[in-house]
Every structure is written in structure tokens, then in C-alpha cells.
């Protein structure tokens, strides 16, 4: 028993040391162009996806989900909630089933449930309000890609007042 604990502790120490010392080197992977990196990743992902149930359906599902993710990116739908839903749906369904079979609809009146519901609604409202009040990001920060994806000419969404202020500042500097 003690050996297992020591092995775990040592593995953590060695792992953390390796991660810290190699982080600079590993981060340079992000500098490799996508065209070079993608085929290797695809080979690894094909092998990894097949390990799930060892059927061809795993690979077909992998490709289908990849395609779904690409379409979601194109139509500007966030992909993260889908993944979170994928992970949380099974326990959520299980515990809802348990709550319904044990308490019926009465569990909805529990103070904890009401508190969590209020918190969720508040976060949703806050997120929506904050989303409406997002500050204007200058074109120099956004880059040309953002303009191309939005289908608008660069600087089209910059408020006139800001542009005028910028011009005024330039004139002042020249003076």
C-alpha cells in the first residue's frame, strides 16, 4: 500500500518537473503550420477513436462529429456547450430520474434547487446584458480576418466619433 502511495507521489513530482522544464519546448508545437501538423494528428486521432469500442462505427462517428464541429464553426455556433452537454447529460439524466422517482415534482420546491435556479437565471441575464454592452475593439487589435469573416469592409463598424477623435489626435501630434 505504501509503495503505491510513494509511486504516485514520485510520479507527480517527476511529471510536474518534466512539464515545467519542457513547457517552452512543447509550446513551440503551436508554431508548426497546420498543414504539417494535421496529418499526424489525424492518424493519432483515428487510432484513438477506434479504441472506444473497436468498431468501424467509432471512426465514422469521429468523422461525423468533426464535420459537425466544422459546420458549427462556419455558422458561428459555439462548440464548447455541445461538449459540456455531451459530458454532463448522462449524470444529469440519471439524477433527474432519481429525483423524480423519489420526490416527484416536489424537489423543485427545495431551497437549494431554487437558489441554484436563481443563480443560473441571474448568470444568463448578466451574460446577455454584458454581451449587448461589449466595447468596440479597434481594427488594429481585431485584424483583417475578423472583417473578412463578418463580410464588412475594414473599419466599417468603428464609430465615427472614435475615428474623428483619432484624426484630431494625429493632427495635434503633427502640430
Amino acid at each position: 500500500m505504501l509503495t503505491i502511495i510513494w509511486t504516485l507521489a514520485l510520479a507527480n513530482v517527476v511529471g510536474a518537473t518534466l512539464c515545467l522544464s519542457l513547457s517552452g519546448l512543447v509550446s513551440r508545437i503551436s508554431l508548426i503550420p497546420g498543414k504539417v501538423l494535421v496529418p499526424f494528428l489525424f492518424v493519432v486521432m483515428i487510432v484513438a477513436s477506434y479504441q472506444s469500442t473497436r468498431h468501424w462505427g467509432d471512426i465514422i462517428t469521429f468523422v461525423a462529429i468533426g464535420l459537425l464541429g466544422w459546420i458549427m464553426k462556419q455558422v458561428d455556433w459555439p462548440r464548447a456547450p455541445l461538449i459540456i452537454g455531451f459530458v454532463l447529460s448522462t449524470p444529469a439524466e440519471r439524477y433527474l430520474h432519481l429525483s423524480m422517482s423519489r420526490y416527484g415534482f416536489e424537489w423543485l420546491t427545495s431551497p437549494i434547487v431554487i437558489g441554484i435556479a436563481v443563480a443560473i437565471v441571474a448568470i444568463l441575464f448578466y451574460g446577455t446584458l454584458r454581451g449587448d454592452k461589449q466595447p468596440d475593439i479597434p481594427d488594429s487589435v481585431r485584424g483583417p480576418a475578423a472583417d473578412a469573416s463578418s463580410g464588412r469592409p475594414a473599419g466599417d463598424d468603428q464609430p465615427t466619433a472614435d475615428r474623428d477623435r483619432g484624426k484630431q489626435e494625429e493632427e495635434n501630434r503633427d502640430a
Binding site: 473497436r54 459546420i71 462556419q74 464588412r152
Partner: protein, 145 residues
């Protein structure tokens, strides 16, 4: 891209609506979760479609040419990946990986032949080593290679 948005939104709406309808036939306790999720999804996707239609009516934005070019590029990549998977099904993982990596790196990534050779050899080495150590299973194929 707008057509894709409409198509995707309609697909999501149909799937959620069908799931909501199907869940009404489940046992009472098993029905609640899928019905609630599917109903919420159907309502939200309907709102999305309505918003999309309203936005289009208000401002007729030109079709994004950059997006069309990206779609063409993505279709080319999809062709590569589907070809690789087809080759795995016929000739097995090792043969397919060698052919796919060599062809993709040489043609798409414009790598030099010696770089391709080293990359393919390295990948095979890693693949065999990891498969041996972790006892991984490789996809079955028609030729049994």
C-alpha cells in the same frame, strides 16, 4: 454561408422536434429529461431561425467570398481524410498511413521528399511503439494486412 446557417438551423430544429415527439412515447420517468432538453432545443433553434430571417431582412449583407474559398479548402481536406479512411478499410492502417502521410505532406504541405521520408518513418515508429506498449487495436480491413 447564410444558406449553411439556415440549413444547419433547420436541421437542428427538425432533430430536436423529432426527439421531443419521440420522447413522449417513453416511460413517464424516462420521458422528462429528453423531452425537456429537446423542447428547449427546438424553441431556441426556432428563435435562431427567426432572428436570422429578421437580420437578413434588415440588412442585406453581400455573400462572403472568403467563406466560400474556405469551404472549398475544407472540402479538399475532407476528401483527403475520407480517402485515408477508405484506404484503412481496404489495405489496413499501416499501408494507409504511409500512403496518406507521404501524399499529404508532399502535395499539400509542400514538404521535401527527405522530410516526408523522415516524418513517415517517425510516425510508424511511434505508432508501433505506442501500440505495443499500450496494447492498442488497429482497425480491421478487407485485405487482412
Amino acid at each position: 454561408m447564410r444558406k449553411l446557417s439556415y440549413g444547419f438551423g433547420i436541421c437542428v430544429f427538425v432533430i430536436f422536434s423529432a426527439a421531443a415527439y419521440a420522447s413522449t412515447g417513453f416511460h413517464r420517468l424516462a420521458m422528462y429529461f429528453p423531452f425537456a432538453v429537446a423542447l428547449g432545443g427546438a424553441v431556441l433553434s426556432a428563435i435562431y431561425l427567426i432572428t436570422l430571417a429578421l437580420e437578413e431582412r434588415q440588412s442585406r449583407l453581400p455573400e462572403n467570398k472568403e467563406g466560400l474559398a474556405e469551404m472549398r479548402r475544407a472540402l479538399v481536406y475532407l476528401g483527403w481524410f475520407l480517402g485515408y479512411i477508405l484506404l484503412i478499410a481496404i489495405a489496413g492502417l499501416v499501408v494507409a498511413s504511409v500512403v496518406f502521410l507521404a501524399a499529404f505532406l508532399y502535395r499539400e504541405a509542400r514538404m521535401r521528399w527527405w522530410g516526408v521520408l523522415i516524418s513517415v518513418a517517425g510516425t510508424l515508429l511511434v505508432l508501433f511503439t505506442i501500440s505495443g506498449v499500450m496494447r492498442l487495436y488497429w482497425p480491421r480491413n478487407l485485405l487482412g494486412l
